[in-house]
Symmetry: D2
Subunit: 437 residues, 4 copies
Amino acid sequence: MIPRYARAPMVAIWEPENRFRIWFEIEAHATDALADLGVVPKEAAAALWKWWATKPAIDVAAIDAIEAVTKHDVIAFLTWVAEQVGDEARFMHQGMTSSDVLDTCLAVQLSQAADMLIADLDTLLETIKRRAYEHKLTPTIGRSHGIHAEPVTFGLKMAQAYAEFARNRERLVAARKDIATCAISGAVGTFANIDPRVEAHVAAKLGLSIEPVSTQVIPRDRHAMFFATLGVIASSIERLATEVRHLQRTEVLEAEEYFSPGQKGSSAMPHKRNPVLTENLTGLARMVRGYALPAMENVALWHERDISHSSVERYIGPDATITLDFALGRLNGVIDKLLVYPERMEKNLNKMGGLVHSQRVLLALTQAGVSREDAYALVQRNAMKVWESDGALSLLELLKADSKVNEALTTAQLEDSFDLDYHLKHVDAIFGRVFGD
Amino acid sequence: MIPRYARAPMVAIWEPENRFRIWFEIEAHATDALADLGVVPKEAAAALWKWWATKPAIDVAAIDAIEAVTKHDVIAFLTWVAEQVGDEARFMHQGMTSSDVLDTCLAVQLSQAADMLIADLDTLLETIKRRAYEHKLTPTIGRSHGIHAEPVTFGLKMAQAYAEFARNRERLVAARKDIATCAISGAVGTFANIDPRVEAHVAAKLGLSIEPVSTQVIPRDRHAMFFATLGVIASSIERLATEVRHLQRTEVLEAEEYFSPGQKGSSAMPHKRNPVLTENLTGLARMVRGYALPAMENVALWHERDISHSSVERYIGPDATITLDFALGRLNGVIDKLLVYPERMEKNLNKMGGLVHSQRVLLALTQAGVSREDAYALVQRNAMKVWESDGALSLLELLKADSKVNEALTTAQLEDSFDLDYHLKHVDAIFGRVFGD
Amino acid sequence: MIPRYARAPMVAIWEPENRFRIWFEIEAHATDALADLGVVPKEAAAALWKWWATKPAIDVAAIDAIEAVTKHDVIAFLTWVAEQVGDEARFMHQGMTSSDVLDTCLAVQLSQAADMLIADLDTLLETIKRRAYEHKLTPTIGRSHGIHAEPVTFGLKMAQAYAEFARNRERLVAARKDIATCAISGAVGTFANIDPRVEAHVAAKLGLSIEPVSTQVIPRDRHAMFFATLGVIASSIERLATEVRHLQRTEVLEAEEYFSPGQKGSSAMPHKRNPVLTENLTGLARMVRGYALPAMENVALWHERDISHSSVERYIGPDATITLDFALGRLNGVIDKLLVYPERMEKNLNKMGGLVHSQRVLLALTQAGVSREDAYALVQRNAMKVWESDGALSLLELLKADSKVNEALTTAQLEDSFDLDYHLKHVDAIFGRVFGD
Amino acid sequence: MIPRYARAPMVAIWEPENRFRIWFEIEAHATDALADLGVVPKEAAAALWKWWATKPAIDVAAIDAIEAVTKHDVIAFLTWVAEQVGDEARFMHQGMTSSDVLDTCLAVQLSQAADMLIADLDTLLETIKRRAYEHKLTPTIGRSHGIHAEPVTFGLKMAQAYAEFARNRERLVAARKDIATCAISGAVGTFANIDPRVEAHVAAKLGLSIEPVSTQVIPRDRHAMFFATLGVIASSIERLATEVRHLQRTEVLEAEEYFSPGQKGSSAMPHKRNPVLTENLTGLARMVRGYALPAMENVALWHERDISHSSVERYIGPDATITLDFALGRLNGVIDKLLVYPERMEKNLNKMGGLVHSQRVLLALTQAGVSREDAYALVQRNAMKVWESDGALSLLELLKADSKVNEALTTAQLEDSFDLDYHLKHVDAIFGRVFGD
């Protein structure tokens, strides 16, 4: 976890205190269920909850000190709780194994993290939608291969991002469901020493589903899917960040990250306004994507479990969720405040002497009966002249002057082929598909 | 594609012929829609389908020869089709861009591949289920950290695999839905030169959904999610393969890959029967997992598209699906014919002098009023003797002879703690959860 | 292996025929050594070489047919050779294990591949050097964050690429050394059944070093390092490819991939000249980079070996080397024929009204005694005006008109700060460092 | 950075204080050189060093507070130093750009980290060597595919690890050299505002080599190679850790991680002694390996630099080096204290009724004139009986009783084939190759 790329609420999920609180709730709910089943005295559960009702502080240092001796975190925690609650605490953890607590706790933490990420996506989606409608009909050049192609609108770029992040939201909801399971099934998942009804009770109380069959642990394909999904979301962040970086290039400059008055772009070049936020997002995306691999390698645990996954999850549990949360927040800020320059978009759009309309002329020629090959040749020979003039010549004027073209198309037809609105006529329909309104 | 790790039906999906057939169908359906809209003559569409009805062979070499000149694959294909169909073919591809054809074709190919993989999973699930019920109550030792823990059954191991692959099936169905979209939206996704109804028509005919908003291409987050999902499935394959490899170890030998009579395990050591299929699956899993990364890097295409994703997909489209198909088939064969040795399982189970029952004794002591710490110490001091004897001593006998233990538990209570059925009493319930019957 | 991204000589290394030829040489050299040691008759070795001197064709299909029965590739090969050579061939492979042949063969193949890649790098380095000197003093704008910074030369960009690929060459030479080892040490690496002098003899004949200690196989950290090195080289390819892609953007257009007369950039937009080769290289780099991961996962084989690495190497052995060879060749072609536009570079360089000289003004002010903070403020307030005018205003003129600036610097001093040669004065020195001449 | 997997000296390298100290040294040495060149007053440099000689504490919080305003870390640092040193500090950083400081500092930090890792490897190599000689002739079964093959010694396993980590040391030395370069070349690497002699001076003082040609930054192929090398080392750690995990399996138990008296293996199963350290190392290896990918993606920065690499390096700089340092230390402890059980090794070695000697019998038969195929069949038919008896039958006895075998080999020859020393006769030679003594 890099403080610079972290927000407090997500960090808090991964603090020892939150973990210990979840552990307590798992143990206490389990003790309730055990008491209902007559396995432990009702007083045992009552004593736990009574102490909990005092809103006790969790003494992380004390628990750590015990662990330094026992070299076992759950035993250390239980020992500490027993010191606080007294004799009745000895009924806690009956028939359970450490992993019952650890894995169910991780499920709760990842669910909390997923909820926060889903909220991040919702915020981002709202922001993108607002900018999309704001620039629904702001014309700008569409580019393939970095080369001018045909006109689009800036709103369409936003609509693409919206649709992509809406898909990501759906994927994250599915991934959250995948990891939100509770396993309290004992040392090898047989419920030998604990009734399955304990698991069901704890699951219900914590908002989890039960794990249909576990080993000592919850199977790690669930977590692999979760982290792979975060990797895909990160890749989408990279895509939108890359778009902004391109638009802010000196020669393009169709949009810019917001630049606060006191900000210095460079210690040496005072004029510089750099897209540092989106460059940063590009790097963060690399990290989150990279975490998917160790998560996948974690799946093949030996037999009923080994503990190799644990260290990996100590890293990527916090790192992937905190980084992605930060990145989504930063991306939201970038889009929210993005400076958009419609005049510059128009200027760039017209830069190539009308070449962006070449396909439309090609179609008009074909529809006027010229063969595809001839039409292509006619357009290309004029387009090349414009190209070589670096936009100084006008494609429309050259076509008007081309007698072969004149044989097929009237001047009015030609001029009609250079109409910008022609390209925007379906924007409404696309917005309807994407935003559903 | 490695022929050794490939099955013909999946390979066929990626053959040029299948691609060209899909291209034709996209173009011909689009021409139908264009004809309905009055953009092209009805005869144009009719001519295409008429030719198609003759079940023409696709001359891949001829198309390649044209491409060698034009350096453009779709133009080469259209040119060849025009040579076959005649003059009316010139109305094909009106207002479309190459990517409309390429990306929609890829969607069809990946959908076909996904269907095959889903069928593979169904076959595998059936096989695993059969072996699970066959060995539902075959006791075997559960191991955590590679160390004996408590008894499970071989059927439970199979049930775990079943649940995991059932989840993978569900994920693959979702991933299939993610990539099964049709985009016919023109050079930059604005439908400038083509009516959105064409896209809707082709999508319906090909069993795809429409892409709500595209650029020149279908957004690559869809494909990233697809290949990441294959990576997770591959990791599950690795898990089950690793289990078999462990079980076949000389010292464990609780199960073995089927060994055909003529097979030689080693050029030097004739007694060897090696788990080569599951070792191979472990390697194949590494490959499929590795393909997820380039797929994620493909997401951030520049602006309305660049073509960097294309070469990646030429590799991983076939390689990931063909390898995974082969691996699922091979895994199915391994599980189907797996030699399972219940006697050896029993022998191993009893190997540790009853240590596997230590937790149950611990619980019995606690329930008899001994403190957790004391109970732990009592069990551990006897367990250590058994451990150091390498299983020659019996935990039950030692406990019977321990006066402190006798204070808390009768001989009958002690013997009851060593009952194997105790561990299997919930197997029925777990099977019910997993197999739903 | 994707034929489209493959060149014949590298492909040939991975053909069965080359593999079988290497196998034969290993076996025959080993038989020589065994004969010298008196283990097998001298006639046995002589018979092998006598047959080999007839330059026999390798009947791959026949060998495959035998393997289909034995399910063991080396046994199949030995059987086939024995059929050709006759009775004396039975002395082949004495005391050896399959992996002795397979791993030493892989070492030879990877060495051959490395040699080809080193030659590719040499060719590329020559080409880059030529273009570097050609444009040693062609001024162009240097950009950080995609934003104009200060002048550089196009030759310097080439010099950077040269230095980077020279480092890559050195890394590849080291990686080649790492994998070029011979192991003929028997079933578990103890030389139980074969004298270490056999290994030494074969190693010397094949130009390999001996493997100091092997298991059944050559340790896979060697291969991991090799493929990781290829991944780094691929990343450098991506860097140079990305540079070209940026330079070819419509708004930048300082350089362009060569565009052959017959080439069509788009089926729809005849004016388009897309950087498709470098986009392709970007995708190929993703693939080669991705292969490093499975290679690293291959290291942790179980005990004296398992065979999980084998399938991985069947993919990445050919795929990584063939793809990288193709990519290096393609990159060489791109740089060789790259169209460079110095006029456009100059135009872009002047585009920002002289803002690129702002740092020099800043330094001049500081040296004239103005505090860093004041100097920064003075430059920035004028720079911002130029910036907001989109380069229509001139920084030099604004500074001349700023009375606070005039207090510190004369007009001559100001004008001197806008001299382009100032930025190029160390180019000679840098070229000397890079090219050593 | 996960405190649980971190050691203080490596962590200190990445603390802000170390970074700021390095920054100061870079700036002060550069000021020295600038003073020598007459660019700044000698008093400026003297003032800096005079202050430094007071061993001032670095007030990280104060610097952070300034950065919160300027949003620029180097400017914040320079401002703080100026506050401490006074007016003469304004000559610092003349003609330099932030990246000159940042990248050269990273080179120093990575060099420091590399030195620590090299020392870790040296310690580990010593430990492995000691255990290797201790068990040079301790026989144990060699296994391929997890199946008994032929005898080796435990010392040989250690020798393999030694050779592998010795290679890794050599790789790390090369990787250290790759990243230990100094760049002080200004905003775009042209030395426009700073003399190359400044770079040379700082490089010499800091023990770095000069960067022959830089952009604004040091090229990232260097760092990619460095982190890829760490990934390979991590993979070797995984290999040795996996070996220990296998050896500690209940059924194998030939070695065990040291188990401290107070340690509890399981909250439920008091007899368990789990290989948790090596399982943990397996997970840590996954992390370090995973960091190689983002490092490779960092190579393709845009033009003369973008800042996307920076966030990645904030993670992987500390995370990869701290984790690897911890892992090497932990592995050293594991090997140092590893409990090795020669009796159990012997027991396992004999477990298969002598099957491990089958290859030697095969060779003896061949040398006695039996054809390879017949010999193979003879051995296999007896081996299979032993195999099916689960080691209860003895291969030697069966062979003695096989009349066809008797025709070729005498009883003495047969017995000679079962001699363990036969397998160990070259151990000395191998140790000589590996340890060079």
